[in-house]
Amino acid sequence: MVNLEKSILKNIYLIIILLFLILSLHRGTFEIAPFIYGAFSIILIFYGHFIIKRFYPNVDKYLFIISAFIVQFGLVMLYRLDLQRAVRQMAWFAVGVTVFIFVLLLFPNIKRLEKYSLTFALLTIIILTLPLFLGREIKGSKNWIQIGSFSFQPSELGKLFIIFYLSGVIKKINDYKDVLRYSIPVVLSIIIFVLEKDLGSALMFFGIFMTMLYIGTSRISYILSGLGLFGIGGFLSYFMFDHVKRRVNIWLDPWKDKYGAGYQICQSLIAIASGGLFGTGLAGGHPEVIPEVHTDFIFSAISEEFGLLGAIALLILYLLLIYRMLRTALYAKDDFSRLVAVGIASMFAFQVFVIVGGVTKMIPLTGITLPFVSYGGSSMTISFLSIGILQKISEVGNSDE
């Protein structure tokens, strides 16, 4: 087990070195800077792994290893696209690893949070409404808070709060009346998201809720009525909100207005198509022509340069990560922790599905981040916080064995 881990880590280091070797040579001259950047990355992974191994030899170390590997896709891509952002992203990676270690070392047993359900519900609503008063519109969505030069996306933290809330209340559900009562914070959140034009988060909240509801109650009828209501809501909001209508129309035929409203998605599709099976090779394509390539469309950039194979590899890494999360849920000691783990796993699964499906035009595009990969501090920090919480659950789960 330990040897396997070591060999996996060694291979990850090797891949990082190779990727940055390409970046140091691609302009025709040898540059040292990419190696320094890559070395930072390796040190962070090594350090994070060292702490887990040193203090918690029994926990599931793959949660961290896989996450850290996924982060490399984003770092390499960002380094190639935009050096300034890449440096900041490396800082966020460091923050993420730090948060992860802090959670691991300082957090109480997750089970103790079970009794604060109501607090989490209130926190969710408060934090999600903040942008309506303090926020400003970025990229057509009013879901940011800006304090000085520091901007923050509260929906990222809101996702975790709602998961904690749901984990606490879902087992209390016995009938439809309970479903209605306990779903009030979720429904409120979704309405807020629609008002903030943050449809991606609305979709994710709904996905997380449905998944946890089914896992906790085993009642398929709840899910079907939930889907039905969501369908009606979606249908109505298509006619009520112009921004919803516009997104759906772009999805149906982006090429109609390929230099206007459909520009982003068309450029994304062209990038993915340009990659082919093997990709153009790192730094061999032109993903920089896609607007917002460093955040929402980073998957398209990866598809262009790493090809279909690279994109599938990344998706498999996510699937492995989600599998390890659900495995953690299986081995957890109490239902609350289990549900938290399930919630976080479905959060990642839906987030990847929504954004990858969006940039490939499988489903309508809604701007959310690709966890661990997209540029951005909120997303990176919350993703590592989530991994930290799961690690904590896994630590408790394994501690008695």
């Binding site: 068309c266 340009s274 032109h286 598809s303 599938i312 796993a345 699964a349 490939t360």
Partner: protein, 475 residues
């Protein structure tokens, strides 16, 4: 809460998420296999420009190595220069990132932009390697079969008229001249595209030489004569009494100025372009013979060429038994429509003993170091008529220029064979002026077709252009 149930649900969730990811992967694979090909080619793909900007686009030369089109580096990319742009526009086409590409710029885009894997794999790997060290990537050059001086002269000869001129080598099919007027300037295409596009009257983007759709008029008598020679025995001895007016039921087919040629044989009828005789021949031959002969010259057939797109010429009568229509079709006035390139091929077929060679525009492709990547070889397009038939018609055509309707094409030192044509324009008193032929008659080196829209009779404007062209070529 039943713990067992919870665990079972979580396991089911693992399967569910695996399926979701499988769906994404499946969709991505489907996208790559079936959708991506068209998406990459979309004009909104900036990569096309980016990758082409990277490689200095290759030049286009005439048959003697004279530069026609070339590119130069600028501070922010490269600029393409077209020498005598309007004169060569319909051959080389244009190269625009907004409006796309046409002509040689389109058909030989791969070679011009340096993608030569198709021509020689090993060499292109070597070139890539060499270019990496030189620091400048250059595309390959295309040498045309076009003769710069002759093309230039042909363009000027058309003056301010609309029309087209095609000159080719009847023995090889190499196109020496291909002019269409009005023309456009490829160098300023981005600026003037809309102006050209909106010019409905002049339609400068229309390549009249290959896309024209004109009645061939009396030049079509070449084909009718071939049909007569091949289908009617002893036709050489047959005589007609031309009254200048051929009555077919209620319809009267007139000769030019209703001139009565009197007693006349086929050779003389051809020389004088006698409508009476050819109208009678058309009725005698009938639809099947006329149609078969037209198709021997590839009317009603798709001619697929590598370097050009040629519009299908047609021979078709709405009533195959109508004697009036048969008579009119035999003199190229009704039911027949063609383009100058096709008529140049008809003349070339007579010049080349009945064999029609495949016309082509590109002589060879050379990489930037001068190594020949591909050299085009002459190919036979079709064996249209017997050698004897061709020889006879050649004699007729020599007479046309010596003492017939085409006398204005006559040169003192070179024997020219030709046929005039005056194509009537429906609902108009004006006519298109046609002249097709070849020279020198005994050993043909060029065959040509000239049309001047609304240029009057074929014996005047077009015949004079033919004379000037031939003397330019043999000077």
């Amino acid at each position: 809460m039943n713990e067992e149930k919870l665990l079972r649900n979580i396991k089911a969730l693992i399967v569910f998420f695996s399926l979701i990811f499988l769906v994404i992967i499946g969709y991505l694979t489907y996208f790559n296999l079936y959708l991506s090909e068209n998406i990459v080619r979309d004009s909104s793909n900036p990569r096309i420009k980016l990758s082409e900007e990277d490689v200095l686009r290759g030049a286009i030369f005439d048959r003697n190595g004279k530069q026609i089109v070339y590119s130069k580096r600028t501070r922010d990319g490269q600029k393409r220069y077209y020498k005598d742009g309007e004169i060569f526009a319909h051959v080389v086409g244009y190269n625009s990132y907004i409006y796309g590409k046409t002509g040689i710029e389109l058909l030989y885009n791969d070679a011009l932009s340096g993608k030569t894997f198709y021509y020689d794999l090993l060499g292109s790997i070597f070139r890539k390697f060499a270019q990496t060290f030189e620091g400048e990537k250059r595309g390959s050059n295309v040498a045309l079969t076009i003769d710069y001086a002759l093309q230039y002269r042909a363009y000027k000869l058309l003056g301010s008229d609309k029309g087209a001129i095609v000159v080719l080598n009847p023995k090889t099919g190499e196109i020496l001249t291909l002019v269409s007027k009005p023309s456009f300037d490829p160098e300023s295409i981005d600026k003037n595209f809309k102006k050209y596009k909106n010019d409905v009257e002049g339609n400068p983007f229309l390549n009249r030489a290959t896309q024209g759709f004109y009645p061939p008029g009396s030049t079509y008598k070449i084909i009718t004569a071939a049909a007569a020679l091949e289908n009617i025995e002893n036709i050489g001895n047959e005589k007609w009494l031309c009254t200048g007016k051929l009555k077919i039921g209620d319809y009267v087919l007139k000769d030019f100025n209703s001139e009565a040629h009197g007693k006349i044989d086929l050779k003389k009828a051809f020389t004088k372009s006698c409508n009476f005789t050819f109208g009678s021949l058309g009725m005698e031959l009938g639809f099947n013979n006329l149609n078969r002969e037209a198709e021997k010259f590839l009317f009603n057939k798709d001619i697929v060429l590598e370097d050009l797109v040629i519009r299908k010429s047609t021979y078709n009568l709405e009533d195959k038994n109508s004697r009036a229509l048969l008579a009119q079709s035999a003199i190229g006035q009704h039911g027949v429509a063609t383009n100058p390139l096709q008529m140049a091929l008809v003349a070339a077929t007579i010049a080349n003993e009945g064999i029609m060679m495949k016309p082509y525009l590109v002589k060879e492709i050379k990489d930037e170091y001068g190594v020949v990547l591909e050299r085009k070889k002459p190919q036979v397009l079709t064996r249209a008529i017997e050698k004897e038939t061709a020889e006879k018609i050649k004699e007729y055509m020599i007479d046309v220029v010596n003492k017939g309707t085409g006398v204005r094409a006559k040169l003192s030192n070179i024997v020219i064979a030709g046929k005039t044509g005056t194509a009537e324009i429906p609902n108009s008193s004006e006519t298109h002026s046609w002249f097709v032929g070849f020279a020198p008659a005994n050993n043909p080196q060029i065959a040509f077709a000239i049309i001047v829209e609304k240029g009057g009779t074929g014996g005047k404007r077009a015949a004079e252009i033919a004379r000037e062209l031939v003397s330019e070529y043999f000077k």
